[in-house]
Amino acid sequence: MTTTETPTRRITTAKAMAEGIALEMRRDPGVFVMGEDVGAYGGIFGSTTDLFAEFGADRVIDTPISETGFIGAGIGAAVEGLRPVVELMFIDFYGVCMDQITNHMAKIHYESGGNVTVPMVLMAATGGGYSDAAQHSQCLWGTFAHLPGIKVVVPSNPYDAKGLMISAIQDDNPVLYLFHKGAQGLVWMEKNPRSIAHVPEESFTVPIGEAAVAREGTDVTIVTLSLSVQHSLDVAEQLVAEGISVEVIDLRSLVPLDTQTVLASVAKTGRVLVVDEDYRSFGLTGEIAAVIAEHDPMMLKKPFRRLAVPDVPIPYARVLEQGILPTRDKIAAGVRELMS
């Protein structure tokens, strides 16, 4: 064992999430998990893998298909001092429970004048790319980032997935934890090798509200998050051959948003492409534009560019869906246009 041991234990993003939860469950008996198929099944997208076996049905609770009911129950439990980790299977289902999320989970702390806290994690799968069509492929992080009172984190890789999960559970605020199905490293879905990576076994945190410079570069800044970070890193590597140096900013958190890291990069490159798998208008891409334009529009050597879903529902057929997703080809084209 000693000779073959490697310091790089490589695990999937899904496993990293579950590991983060398990560590917190061992540490704090107030942490429990609740959602549809989180028990024996282990979460449809693997977010609760192996938790049921270790913690049992009392702490890893399968629920009826009653999202308003069980998310509300999570809020009630959190208000009474527990730390529920609640899964909404797909973020697309937010519409059946949005009131609990945004009128209750998000607002109770404020409405109570700071007297009540809601230390709860709501996790949900996001994203498309595998022909799951209009009701099961959305990202919607812009929707939640717009509404005050919820921290919103969106990891792009196994390390951040674990560290952000631990931070989220320890946070005294409600945290919406959005994980992209395509970045989970699932055996049954096309995946980028970046979804399997070294993650330390022990507990560690990734601070909520700090973006990462996923790759340094000097010509163009790509501001992005989630699966699109993986695509953007691929593109950045590919464009080296064309002599283009791309900096990739992985936002990791939308609320709070790390505007300093974005502005520092744009100050350096003067060219910015925001890549977002959420809908284009009235969302993340606009917010980044505003952050820059408020600070100093003269930073931009070229007009601002954004690549996002062009305000259409996500279509089913692969050719249609690939047509509207921010694929590597479109990212590369966007970067090249900024350099032209």
Binding site: V79, E80, L82, Q100, E111, N173
Partner: protein
């Protein structure tokens, strides 16, 4: 089950009515000449509970410190009956910095963690939250219960259904209370609800359901006692529908043109004089006591209003605090 103390029930009802009557006055006092909902010492919507005292008083007389309540947009009677501090609550309604929520919540969002009391302005959405409080009580091994309150209109909202199923499935110590005051704003029960009694819906979730007629505080007390004892003993949730009475408008400013003949019989159905008469008849209440109970209540409410009106306002910058802990 707590022992029945008729005089206490009466006193609590009078205290609440006195409170609502004074808030009514205060609310309207300075909205003239052009009536402006946003103006005055108490701005915003105001849903008062006059006539519905029996439900809050009958239920809460069975609760103990550490039990929880989630109330809806019409919360004052439950808040007061559950022991929420009248001064802090009043200051909140007046938007003061000494308020329960430092002026951020207002009358539909009263949060008192000490008494595990909260309310919400969104119909039926306190039901799921109560389930979660009950989960926490159970997981902690206590015998505390959570009471979830909503109107008969609210019982047609999806959250009602999900919560009842969840609570029954998980045998949670929740008591679902429906205050049927015949109206949801201008919509009568017959136009909102397909069956005659929400108690009948309880069996669809495998839980006991009972409907109490005549706005009868003692019947509420008894039924709530049974349900709460059952919940404390691990027997799971119950539903109690109380046929009560909305004496005033849905909110202040509601002209109630839609209400018709129903309005004419209100005085005769006011539960407080009716209960006073009952108690007098059985010798439990004298005319002197009626007067002194009213006077005590008035004094307490006056003091609370004085506390509120003499408290400082928050500052505009305080609005930026407390988004996150």
């Amino acid at each position: 089950m707590n022992p029945l103390n008729r005089l206490d029930l009466y006193k609590q009802m009078v205290r609440i009515r006195q409170y609502e009557s004074r808030i009514l006055q205060e609310y309207h006092a300075d909205k003239k000449p052009a009536w402006d909902i946003g103006a005055g010492l108490i701005p915003g919507e105001m849903h008062l509970s006059a006539g519905q005292e029996p439900s809050a008083v009958g239920v809460c007389a069975n609760l103990k410190q550490g039990d929880a309540i989630t109330a809806p947009h019409r919360p004052h009677h439950f808040a007061l009956a559950h022991g929420v501090d009248m001064n802090a609550m009043t200051a909140e309604i007046y938007g003061r910095d000494t308020g329960l929520c430092r002026g951020k919540g207002g009358h539909m969002h009263l949060f008192d963690p000490e008494n595990h009391f909260s309310c919400s302005g969104i119909i039926a959405q306190g039901y799921p939250v109560a389930c979660g409080q009950a989960m926490a009580f159970k997981r902690k091994g206590t015998d505390h219960v959570a009471v979830a309150v909503a109107g008969e209109g609210a019982a047609n909202q999806g959250a009602f259904h999900e919560s009842l199923n969840l609570a029954s499935l998980w045998k949670l110590p929740v008591i679902f209370v429906i205050e049927d005051n015949d109206w949801a704003i201008s919509v009568p029960r017959s136009h909102s609800t397909a069956n005659a009694s929400n108690a009948d819906r309880a069996s669809g979730y495998g839980m006991p359901g009972v409907r109490i007629e005549n706005n009868d505080v003692e019947a509420v007390f008894e039924a709530a006692g049974v349900a709460i004892d059952r919940a404390r003993a691990g027997g799971g949730p119950s539903l109690i529908e109380i046929h009560t009475l909305r004496l005033w408008g849905h909110f202040e400013g509601d002209a109630q043109a839609y209400r018709g003949a129903d309005l004419d019989t209100l005085d005769a159905r006011d539960p407080i004089p009716l209960y006073a008469a009952t108690l007098a008849e059985i010798g439990d209440l004298s005319m002197d006591q009626v007067a002194s109970i009213a006077a005590d209540a008035a004094a307490e409410v006056d003091a609370a209003i004085t506390f509120a009106t003499s408290s400082p306002f928050p500052t505009a910058d305080d609005a930026l605090l407390h988004v996150f802990a």
